[in-house]
């Protein structure tokens, strides 16, 4: 049977996407796009609300998820929206919402004729991402993934006039396609070994099998294909170029939404499908290597950066590494840590990118030295940069700190103390470049003291980011509980 709740959010997104396109056709081209924006925002908000009905309770998104009588599912269980999926969906949808906001400011700065298309494609890719989180089966997973990525190719290269954007798009596309080819090849062998594409079935069947080189190859290729999406080193090479070239809102979107989706895929595929004695040591070890590599490379390469978007790209590589430590630790604790950190990461990163796009709209530059004296031009942005960046660096009392506390805690609980040590040492390195930005923003007097204006919406969103980032630092309890119930839903 089919329960609509299982894909209600996706319905909302796709629906509003089409609506946007249609309305754009009806409207006369000169008209302001406010209506479209309205529709999009409402659509995403509706999708967010629909999470509640999926959760089966009216009150809070996740309130009674633990005590839900039946997990809504559709297409013969190919889509199953359990609490884990809900958590991921929430992050993705929030990210989409933020992206929309950012993009409004961004397009004020460099206008385009294709606002409607942009919004629609964004919503499509969001739908893909959100479907991905509840995919229980490889084909579904693959289709959702491609929906996400192909539309993000478009988004990345959306600024047709801008050479950088085009280059970014092309690189992203070629490499993305290449990596998904690898992924598929891995899938094909996986199918070959098990004869099924249902993840839980795969797990059952592989449980009895012994490891074989081909199977290992398959696993490695799958890891490679997905690691590309969350930009784990050494599959991260595309990230800086694409992040720098793509329009700022898309950079934000990629750094949060598509990462989250990638992790969702990882969690399902590996902790349900491939957590079998024959394979687990292999891919956990593999992840340990990748995580450490990303932490080291990401942080070190971020040091010499001058362009803030590029810097954030490297930082996001490092962050992926941190999250992977929690992922490879696995189990209730590890996954909780991953989910919580993603939640934290959402607000911190989005805050930074919103600030970036606001500054860019004013100064037309992404160079760090142009952030000089931000405290005077707009105190709020100064605070946002300080708080969010330090949260990314994992400095108390900001959310990133408690996030890292759980991630490394999970890693250590499984005996990966050395990874935790590397992680901590390099988060000190990261502190160096994050503080470089904060320093520019807070210490010197501005060259051009003209204030940076923003509308009430952006103001409030920035404030929300700050408030969340600070509060979650010393009072993570509620979100942690949600994350726990979400993580536990994977195992029962």
């Amino acid at each position: 049977m089919i329960q609509v709740q299982a894909f209600l959010p996706e319905l909302w997104l796709v629906g509003s996407a089409f609506l946007v396109l249609i309305v754009d056709l009806i409207q006369k081209p000169t008209s302001t796009k406010t209506l479209l924006k309205g529709i999009a925002v409402v659509g995403v908000l509706a999708a967010l609300l629909s999470l509640c009905c999926v959760g089966g309770c009216g009150s809070c998104p996740f309130g009674s998820c633990g005590s839900m009588e039946s997990v809504p599912q559709a297409f013969g269980g190919f889509l199953k929206t359990d609490t884990l999926a809900l958590f991921f969906k929430f992050i993705i949808l929030m990210a989409t919402l933020f992206t929309l906001l950012i993009s409004f400011r961004y397009f004020k700065a460099n206008p385009t004729h294709y606002t409607a298309e942009f919004i629609a494609v964004l919503l499509f890719s969001a739908a893909g991402a959100s479907a991905l989180t509840s995919a229980q089966e490889i084909i579904t997973l693959y289709v959702a993934l491609e929906t996400l990525t192909i539309s993000s190719y478009l988004l990345a290269s959306f600024m047709k006039k801008d050479k950088a954007s085009n280059e970014a798009g092309m690189k992203y596309l070629l490499l993305g396609a290449f990596s998904s080819a690898l992924l598929l090849f891995g899938f094909s062998y996986l199918y070959g070994f098990t004869g099924t594409t249902v993840i839980s079935e795969i797990g059952k069947i592989l449980a009895t099998q012994v490891s074989s080189p081909l199977l290992t190859l398959a696993v490695i290729m799958i890891v490679a294909g997905l690691a590309f999406k969350i930009s784990l080193a050494p599959f991260h090479m595309w990230t800086p170029d694409v992040y720098e070239g793509a329009p700022t809102p898309i950079t934000a979107y990629l750094s949060v939404a598509s990462k989250t989706a990638g992790f969702a895929a990882f969690v399902r595929l590996f902790w349900v499908g491939l957590s079998v004695p024959a394979l687990q040591p292999t891919w956990i070890g593999l992840f340990a290597v990748l995580a450490v590599l990303s932490i080291v490379l990401g942080n070190l390469e971020a040091l010499p950066q001058r362009n803030i978007k590029r810097l954030m790209a490297y930082s996001s590589i490092a962050q992926a590494g941190y999250i992977s430590t929690g992922f490879l630790a696995g189990g209730q604790l590890g996954l909780t840590a991953v989910l919580f950190y993603l939640f934290v990461y959402l607000f911190a990163n989005m805050g930074v990118f919103l600030a970036i796009s606001i500054v860019y709209a004013k100064t037309g530059s992404d160079q760090i030295e142009d952030y000089a004296g931000m405290w005077k031009r707009s105190p709020l942005i100064g605070i946002v940069l300080l708080v969010c960046l330090l949260s990314l660096a994992g400095v108390p009392p900001f959310a990133g700190f408690s996030g890292k506390w759980y991630l490394f805690g999970a890693a250590i609980s499984k005996g990966y103390t050395w990874i935790a040590l590397v992680g901590m040492v390099f988060s000190v390195v990261s502190l160096y470049y994050y503080l470089q930005i904060a320093r520019q923003a807070l210490f010197p007097e501005p060259k051009d003291p003209s204030p940076i204006e923003m509308n009430w919406l952006e103001k409030s969103v920035l404030i929300i980011c700050v408030v969340f980032t600070i509060t979650l630092g010393f009072w993570p309890t509620p979100v942690m509980q949600m994350a726990q119930s979400a993580a536990s839903s994977l195992f029962n």
Binding site: P396, W405, G409, V428, L431, R439, P476
Partner: protein, 525 residues
């Protein structure tokens, strides 16, 4: 002058009146939380209030906090050892984290120290003009963090507050500093956080290795319950020691301290040298020793050498400094060496000495930095070659500086002596147990430090305050300290005198937490 006095006395009285009822058992008012929250609230008030009220608000809060600190000291029941005024709120049950505050003798002293320095700092920053609002916001936040670090009994919150204090320091140094301030600020921050990286991993390792999954220090202090293996302790004790040591400027991780203090604004260096730096030694006694006694026994004799190097090395380097403030900074490093050395002795006397020395160093270093700041504010230079004969134009400050120097030198009657004497006693005693230990060799060299300290401090006094006035127009322009400038320094001097003249209450206080600890560990015997 009178409004200032009013702003000081009223909140002081209020806090006394408010907490007159704070006693053991179910205490009505969460005094410890108030100590943390009050500065943070003050920060918010400063944020919203108009700029001209900023300093008044922070001064009022400071004296309120001072009242609390004194009250705490008075109301602490000497009869019962162990933690008092405990507040406990479960935070994340299944992760063993809960919000626990509590003080024993040692931390009561530390809280008193914090409040004293906070008060003095608020007065010293009276004439800050640049970005005053932000300054006082950060200043108050800093204090809140430090107070929390000294009070919290849960490793998670301990760490949280600990680093919470580091961040405002970064901004204070970076924005209101002098000289290579941005470099210094960055260095200081990166250093301290690098040190804390080991702490965090160590804490987590302890949590997951121990049989009882909790971050509650009280529970973890029971080795039989935690069952941490000797090998584990031997691995992690040095790492934690170094992690904590970094913030106490342990050689060779001390170089943040001269640069940091050299360029920090006065109140910031007061708080940092006086309070934040003391956190290192404090946390070793509070966390590292009780949690990993076997590791301590194994490593301390070697770490003692590092501590000794701190004492002597910093003292010798201080001899040739040309910058007024750098001498003080190195002397502070040297004194921290004394503290660490006292800890390394693992003896009742030594540890008590370390605690008293921590308190004393806090007060004295704060006083000295306050003086340097005030003098610098008047003479506009810290070059020893340019200064000289300042007593002629600022007799009171000169006299106070001589007093401060003597306190640093460890002259009896001032707080410095008590701590150092106990440390030496402890180190020799530690040398006594189990035949020859390294301490018998180290002890005389430790004593050598008091001579070196005397040399460079008297050199300082001579070059700055004695002799003929090098710069003639200093004589006309520069006037002696005003009431508001003298007040905090005199206040700190009085505290130092109180400890120096009648140390019994303070030593008893610290011994309340040291004696049981030593009983558990049992020295090197």
């Amino acid at each position: 002058m009178f409004p200032v006095l009013a702003t000081i006395l009223l909140p002081f009285a209020v806090s006394f009146a408010l907490f007159h009822s704070v006693v053991q058992g179910p205490n009505i008012l969460p005094v410890l939380s108030t100590l943390i929250v009050a500065p943070i609230i003050a920060a918010f008030l400063v944020m919203i209030a108009p700029e001209k009220y900023a300093r008044w608000i922070s001064l009022a809060t400071a004296s309120f906090a001072l009242g609390l600190g004194v009250k705490l000291f008075l109301n602490y029941q000497m009869g019962i050892s162990g933690f008092q005024f405990v507040e406990e709120i479960p935070w994340l049950k299944n992760l063993g984290i809960s919000y626990i505050l509590g003080v024993d003798g040692m931390s009561t002293l530390m809280v008193l120290l914090v409040t004293c320095v906070y008060f003095a700092g608020a007065l010293i920053s009276w004439n800050i003009s640049l970005r005053r609002k932000e300054y006082f916001v950060l200043f108050s936040l800093l204090v809140g963090g430090v107070a929390g670090a000294y009070e919290s009994l849960d490793l998670f919150f301990f760490f949280l507050f600990y680093e919470f204090a580091v961040l405002p320091m970064y901004l204070l140094v970076g924005i209101w500093g002098t000289g290579r301030k941005e470099y210094a600020a960055m260095k200081l921050t990166v250093y301290l956080l690098a040190g804390s990286a080991f702490m965090l991993v160590g804490f987590l390792a302890i949590y997951f290795t121990s049989n009882i999954h909790t971050f509650d220090i009280r529970a973890l202090s029971d080795l039989s319950a935690t069952g941490l293996s000797v090998s584990f302790q031997n691995t992690w004790f040095p790492l934690l020691f170094v992690g904590f040591g970094v913030i106490s400027a342990l050689f060779p991780f001390h170089t943040w301290s001269p640069d940091g203090y050299g360029s920090a604004p006065t109140a910031a260096s007061m708080l940092h040298a006086g309070v934040l730096k003391s956190l290192g030694g404090y946390s070793i006694i509070r966390v590292a020793l009780p949690l990993m006694p076997d590791g301590a026994k194994h490593w301390l004799p070697y770490l003692a050498i590092l501590a000794l190097i701190n004492m002597l090395y910093a003292a010798i380097v201080a001899l040739k400094q040309t910058d007024f403030k750098y001498v003080i900074a190195y002397s502070s490093v040297s004194h921290c060496g004394t503290i660490l050395f006292g800890i390394c002795t693992l003896e009742a006397a030594g540890l008590n000495g370390a605690v008293i020395q921590t308190f004393s160093h806090g007060i004295v270093a704060a006083m000295t930095f306050a003086l340097v700041g005030t003098v610098y504010g008047k003479a506009h230079t810290r070059e020893l070659s340019k200064l000289g004969g300042l007593t002629a134009c600022m007799p009171v400050l000169g006299a106070l500086f001589v007093a401060a120097a003597m306190a640093n030198v460890g002259l009896p009657g001032l707080s410095g002596f008590v701590g150092e004497f106990l440390v030496f006693l402890g180190s020799y005693q530690s040398g006594f147990h189990g035949g020859f230990t390294i301490f018998q060799a180290l002890f005389p060299m430790g004593v050598l430090a008091i001579v070196l300290t005397a040399i460079y401090y008297l050199r300082l006094v001579q070059m700055v305050f004695f002799g003929p006035v090098k710069d003639p127009h200093l004589k006309e322009e520069v006037k002696d300290g005003s009431f508001i400038e003298i007040l905090p320094i005199a206040f700190l001097l009085i505290v130092s005198l109180m400890v120096g003249l009648y140390p019994k209450p303070f030593v008893d206080m610290s011994n309340l937490s040291i004696a049981p600890l030593i009983d558990n560990i049992g020295g090197f015997k």
